[in-house]
C-alpha cells in the first residue's frame, strides 16, 4: 500500500499499557513521524478490525554491531552459507540489500529481520570505547532500527586508576566525557574487574575475580567499588538509562549469591541487571547445578529500583559473544575443548570472547538454563522491570522471540516442551511445580516494548500516545502466538510502512540514540597525559566524534 502522510489505523484491538489501554478497540492516528490524538474524518484510513495493535518492539539488550559482533560474523562462514538473505524489491522499485543470516546476521539483514518481527528500536549492549567508531559505522548500515549502544566501562584502565586514587568525582567526569565522545547511550559494566585481571596475564589462578571484594590490581579497587562508582555516576549524571550490569561469575554454578550481593551493593539506586538467567544458578563447582531463579527474582520483585532482562536460552544454535573474555576461555576449554574460540584483549578497556554454541534439549545444563529463564519470567510480579531478551545471539537469536512469547503465553505448549527436555538438573525448578501463569497480550506488550522503553528513558518509544514516535506493529490475531508474533501484518517505523504481510516495503535509515552529559572539562587535561603515556591512539582520535 502507499504511505500517506496522515493515516488513521482503525478498528484494531490496541495494547498500549503505558497509556492504560489493554485491548480496547480504538483508532491510532499517525501524522508524519508521530502519533497524534486525532485526524480529520477524511484522512486516509487503514482498516485493521480484528487485528492487534501495539507500539514497535524495543530490544533493550542485543549484540548487533561493532568489533566483537563483526569478529563473530567472520568466524562462522559455514552457518551463513545456508542462510542467504535475498534482496526484496522495495516499493520505489529499487532492490534492498542482500546479506547473510545465521546467528549473527550481516548489518542490513539485521535491520530487515528485526523490522520483520515488528521491532523498531534496539540497543547494542556492549561496545569497547576503542571500537565505538566501528560500531557507529555498522549501525549506519543497519536500516530501519533506531539504535544506540552501551559503552563498556567496568574494566577501564583510567577509571580503575581513579578509583584506586579515591577520585570519585573525576571518575564521574570521565564517564560523562567517554559517553559523549563515543556517542553512546548508557554505561555498561561487564564482569567488573574480572576482564582487567584476565588481560593482565599470569596463570589460571589469578585471571578472574570470584566475588565482589577481590582486589583488582590495587587493593582499593574491587568489583564492589567499580559498581558503586559507576552506578552513582550514572545516577548523578541523570542518564536516561542507569548502569547496565553484567555481574561477575556469569555461567558459574552457585553464582546467584554473587548476583544477589551485587544487587544489594547497589540497593536503593537505579540499576539494570542484564541476562539474569545466566546469573541465577545454585549449586557449586564440581557438584550438580540447580535453579536459583526464585531467590533472585524474589529480590527483584521486592526492589522497585532494580530492573532486569532475562537472557532466555532457546534450544538451537547460538553464538556466545561477550566482553567477558575469561568466561569464554572457560567455555572454549570445557568438555575437552575443540571449539572455535576468539579472544581479543582490547587496550584501555574491555575484552572480547567468542565461542559458537548449541543449546540442546537433551543437554542437562542447557535444559536447566532454559528452565531458569522461564522461571524468572513466570515468577516475576512486575513485568515493567523484567524485559524479554535472549541476549542475542548468546542465548539464541532475536528470531526466536516469537517462540519465547508462545512459551510465556501458552501453558499447555510450555508443559509439553518441558517434558521433552533433560530433567537431570531440574529438581529444584519451580517449573516442575506446574507454574500455571500465562502472560497476557498486555503483559507481552510491556515486556517487549513499553517496559524496555521506560527503562531506557525513551519517552517517545514503547507507547501509542500523542507525541510518540509513529512506530506501530499490527498483528493478525492467531491462537498460535509464535506464528502471530513472527509475521506482523503491518509494521510502521516513524510513520513509514516498512513491512507488509512479511514483505519488506521500505527501508529508511534509523536514528541514532546517544547522550552527551555535562562534565567538568578539567578531566581532559589529566586524560591527555594518561593517553600520551599509555594509549597507542591519539587522545584526539579516540571515540567516535567526526573530525574535520
Amino acid at each position: 500500500m502507499s504511505n500517506p502522510e496522515r493515516l488513521r489505523i482503525s478498528g484494531g484491538a490496541v495494547y498500549d499499557p503505558a497509556n492504560g489501554i489493554d485491548g480496547a478497540v480504538r483508532d491510532v492516528c499517525i501524522e508524519g513521524n508521530r502519533i497524534v490524538a486525532e485526524l480529520p474524518r477524511d484522512a486516509p484510513r487503514l482498516d485493521v478490525a480484528g487485528m492487534i495493535v501495539m507500539a514497535g518492539g524495543v530490544d533493550i539488550h542485543s549484540h548487533i554491531a561493532g568489533p566483537s559482533v563483526n569478529q563473530a560474523r567472520r568466524l562462522l562462514p559455514e552457518e551463513r552459507a545456508v542462510d542467504p538473505v535475498l534482496a526484496p524489491r522495495l516499493e520505489d522499485g529499487t532492490l534492498a540489500r542482500t546479506g547473510t543470516g545465521g546467528t549473527v546476521p550481516s548489518t542490513f539483514a539485521t535491520g530487515y529481520r528485526y523490522a520483520g518481527l515488528g521491532y523498531t528500536t534496539a540497543m547494542e549492549a556492549a561496545v569497547a570505547p576503542l571500537g565505538a567508531r566501528h560500531a557507529h559505522a555498522e549501525l549506519d548500515d543497519t536500516p530501519i532500527l533506531d539504535a544506540g549502544f552501551f559503552v563498556l566501562l567496568g574494566n577501564d584502565d583510567y577509571l580503575l586508576r581513579q578509583i584506586a586514587a579515591g577520585e570519585t568525582a573525576r571518575a564521574r567526569d570521565y564517564a560523562a566525557w567517554l559517553l559523549g565522545v563515543t556517542r553512546a547511550y548508557a554505561i555498561k559494566i561487564v564482569n567488573p574487574g574480572g576482564v582487567s585481571l584476565w588481560k593482565s596475564g599470569g596463570d589460571t589462578g589469578r585471571r578472574n575475580v570470584t566475588g565482589l571484594d577481590d582486589a583488582v590490581g590495587s587493593s582499593a579497587v574491587t568489583p564492589r567499588k567499580i559498581l558503586e562508582t559507576l552506578c552513582a555516576a550514572a545516577n548523578q549524571l541523570a542518564l536516561p538509562h542507569p548502569v547496565h550490569v553484567h555481574c561477575n561469575n556469569l555461567g558459574q554454578p552457585g553464582n546467584y549469591a554473587t548476583t544477589l550481593e551485587t544487587m544489594k551493593a547497589l540497593g536503593g539506586q537505579r540499576a539494570h541487571f542484564t541476562h539474569l538467567q545466566f546469573h541465577s544458578y545454585g549449586g557449586e563447582r564440581g557438584k550438580p547445578w540447580q535453579s536459583a531463579a526464585r531467590d533472585v527474582i524474589e529480590y527483584v520483585n521486592a526492589h522497585p529500583e532494580t530492573s532486569v532482562d532475562v537472557g532466555q536460552v532457546m534450544f538451537g544454535p547460538a553464538t556466545t559473544v561477550t566482553a567477558d573474555s575469561p568466561v569464554e576461555y572457560l567455555l572454549a576449554t570445557s568438555s575437552g575443548g575443540g571449539r572455535k574460540w576468539v579472544n581479543v584483549d582490547i587496550e584501555l578497556e574491555s575484552g572480547c570472547g567468542i565461542v559458537p554454541y548449541t543449546y540442546k534439549e537433551q543437554a542437562a545444563v542447557a535444559a536447566l538454563q532454559w528452565a531458569v529463564g522461564l522461571e524468572l519470567f513466570l515468577l516475576s510480579t512486575d513485568p515493567w522491570r523484567v524485559v524479554l531478551s535472549t541476549d542475542h545471539p548468546n542465548g539464541g537469536t532475536f528470531l526466536s522471540y516469537p517462540e519465547l512469547i508462545r512459551l510465556l503465553m501458552d501453558r499447555s505448549y510450555r508443559d509439553e516442551r518441558l517434558k521433552r527436555v533433560n530433567q537431570k538438573l531440574l529438581a529444584g525448578s519451580a517449573l516442575l511445580d506446574g507454574l500455571s501463569r500465562e502472560y497476557t497480550l498486555g503483559e507481552i506488550a510491556i515486556v517487549t516494548r513499553a517496559g524496555p522503553a521506560r527503562l531506557l528513558g525513551l519517552r517517545n518509544k514503547g507507547h501509542l500516545g500523542p507525541g510518540a514516535d509513529a512506530d506501530v506493529t499490527i498483528y493478525t490475531s492467531d491462537g498460535d502466538r509464535s506464528k502471530m508474533f513472527a509475521t506482523p501484518r503491518y509494521v510502521f517505523k516513524a510513520g513509514t510502512l516498512v513491512v507488509e504481510e512479511g514483505q519488506l516495503r521500505r527501508a529508511p535509515a534509523g536514528r541514532r540514540l546517544a547522550v552527551r552529559p555535562e562534565y567538568d572539562t578539567a578531566v581532559t587535561k589529566d586524560l591527555r597525559r594518561f593517553f600520551d603515556a599509555h594509549a597507542t591512539v591519539s587522545f584526539d582520535n579516540y571515540g567516535a566524534e567526526p573530525v574535520a
Binding site: R74, T100, S106, K340, I346, V537, P546
Partner: protein, 408 residues
C-alpha cells in the same frame, strides 16, 4: 599544520603524524617513518578524468563506467588501497547491485584469515602488546622492514615493564627476526610447521623431545613461564606465499598458550586501509573477501573466487577498481590488463592498468577524510591535511546512483 593525522603507509596506521603544508604541497610529515614519508610524498596528485584515454567530464565518465559495468556479463568490483571505509561501503553496495564478484586488497592475508575462520584466534589490540607483554616473539619477521614504527609504537614497553621484557627472534630460513633480539631460535623452513606442533605439544604437557626441535621446545617453555606472550608474525606474503598450515599452527599455538599463561598472536598486515575492506565486507555480507553476488545473496568463495583466480580463469569480463591502482598486487594487475576496467581512486589516470574510465580522486588520509582500520581492527579517523581532487566518496556515490537509478 594538521595534527593527529593517520598514516596509511602500512598497517601500523600511526595516528600521531603532524602534516605541514606550504605552497599547496606537503612540506613535512613529522613522526612519519621512511615508508610514511614516501606515502605522504608532497601530496600532489593528478586530478584528471579520462574516458578511453581522453579528457572527459565527470558526468560522462560516470555514465561510461555505469554502462561498462551494467552491460558486463560477469563484473568484478575490486577494492584497492587508500580509500576510506565510507568509500568501501559504497563499493560493496555497487557490487551487490551489479551481482558482481567483490574482492579486495585484504585478500593478500587470506591464509591468516582462513586459519582464523577454522579455529578462531587469541589476539589483542597493539596497545596490549605494549602495555602487557613480558615476552615478545618475532616469528620470522623483522617489523623494521615493512612496518618501520611497529616496535617503537607497539612493542617498546613502558619503563617498568621494559626492564623485564624479553625479545626473541625466530629465524625461519631467510625470514629472520630483529637483529637486536636477546635470544635467537633458528628453524629450517621445512621444519617450521612441525616445530610449532612440537611447541604446542609441549604446552599441552606432552613429550616433544625430538632433538631437532630442542630450541623451539625450549622457547615454548619460556612462553609458558611468561606472564603474557606476544607472538608477532607477518600476515602478508613476502618472497614466498604464506603457508596456510603455518598460519593455522601459529593460531593453535597462540590459543594453547592461554592455558598456562596468556598469549596473543599478532598478525602484521600492510597498509592502504585493507583491514577496513575486510571489516566492511564482513559487516555487509558476512564474509571478509572473495565474495560473489552472482546468485543474488553473497556467497563466499575463498578458494576459487578471489579476484586473482577469477581473472586467471577469465571468468570476469569487466571490472571496477575503487582505490589506488598502484596498490594492486602484480599478478592481479596483469589480469586486469586483459579486460575493460573503470578505475576510481588516487592516481587512477596514471595507472598501468589499461582503463576505459579513469577518475582521479583524493587519497584517503591526505585529501579525503573518513575512517580507516589499523591492522588490529582498531578504527581511526582520517584527517585531510591538503586540498586535492574530488573526493572518492563523492564519485563513488555518483556512480552508485547512476547504476541504481540509471534510467531516471
Amino acid at each position: 599544520m594538521t595534527e593527529h593525522v593517520t598514516c596509511l603507509g602500512c598497517g601500523c596506521a600511526c595516528d600521531d603524524i603532524a602534516v605541514v603544508v606550504k605552497g599547496g604541497r606537503i612540506a613535512e610529515a613529522s613522526n612519519a617513518c621512511t615508508l610514511g614519508t614516501a606515502w605522504f610524498g608532497d601530496g600532489v596528485v593528478p586530478a584528471e578524468i579520462r574516458v578511453d584515454g581522453r579528457a572527459a567530464t565527470l558526468e560522462r565518465a560516470v555514465g561510461k563506467a555505469a554502462e561498462l559495468l551494467t552491460s558486463a556479463a560477469r563484473p568484478l568490483v575490486y577494492i584497492a588501497g587508500d580509500v576510506s571505509c565510507e568509500v568501501q561501503r559504497e563499493a560493496v553496495a555497487i557490487g551487490d547491485h551489479l551481482h558482481a564478484a567483490v574482492d579486495s586488497l585484504a585478500a593478500t592475508a587470506a591464509s591468516a584469515v582462513l586459519a582464523g575462520q577454522r579455529r578462531g584466534r587469541a589476539a589483542a589490540t597493539l596497545g596490549e602488546i605494549r602495555e602487557r607483554a613480558d615476552l615478545v616473539v618475532f616469528w620470522g619477521v623483522d617489523p623494521g622492514e615493512r612496518y618501520p614504527r611497529f616496535v617503537a609504537r607497539y612493542a617498546t614497553a613502558p619503563s617498568d615493564l621494559g626492564k623485564t621484557r624479553r625479545v626473541v627472534a625466530v629465524d625461519v630460513g631467510a625470514s629472520r627476526g630483529p637483529k637486536d633480539a636477546a635470544l635467537r631460535v633458528t628453524i629450517a623452513p621445512s621444519d617450521e610447521v612441525d616445530a610449532i606442533g612440537a611447541m604446542r605439544a609441549t604446552v599441552a604437557g606432552r613429550d616433544a623431545s625430538a632433538a631437532r626441535f630442542a630450541s623451539a621446545v625450549d622457547l615454548a617453555r619460556r612462553m609458558m613461564q611468561a606472564r603474557y606472550t606476544a607472538i608477532v608474525a607477518d600476515g602478508e606474503p613476502g618472497v614466498r606465499a604464506i603457508d596456510p598450515d603455518r598460519a593455522e599452527a601459529l593460531v593453535a599455538l597462540g590459543q594453547a598458550l592461554n592455558g598456562p599463561a596468556r598469549c596473543t598472536l599478532c598478525t602484521l598486515r600492510a597498509g592502504g586501509n585493507r583491514s577496513g575492506a575486510d571489516a566492511v565486507l564482513t559487516w555487509q555480507t558476512g564474509y571478509p573477501f572473495a565474495v560473489d553476488f552472482a546468485g543474488g545473496p553473497p556467497r563466499y568463495r575463498p578458494a576459487g573466487g578471489s579476484a586473482e583466480a577469477l581473472l586467471a580463469d577469465r571468468e570476469v569480463d569487466a571490472a571496477l577498481v575503487i582505490g589506488a591502482p598502484a596498490t594492486i598486487p602484480g599478478p592481479l594487475a596483469d589480469g586486469l590488463g586483459r579486460i575493460s576496467v573503470a578505475v576510481i581512486g588516487p592516481r587512477a589516470s596514471t595507472s598501468a592498468v589499461g582503463s576505459v574510465v579513469a577518475i582521479d580522486t583524493g587519497v584517503a588520509g591526505i585529501h579525503d577524510g573518513g575512517t580507516a582500520f589499523r591492522m588490529d581492527d582498531v578504527p581511526l579517523p582520517l584527517r585531510a591535511s591538503l586540498d586535492g581532487p574530488r573526493a572518492a566518496l563523492e564519485v563513488v556515490r555518483a556512480l552508485r546512483d547512476k547504476i541504481v537509478h540509471g534510467a531516471r
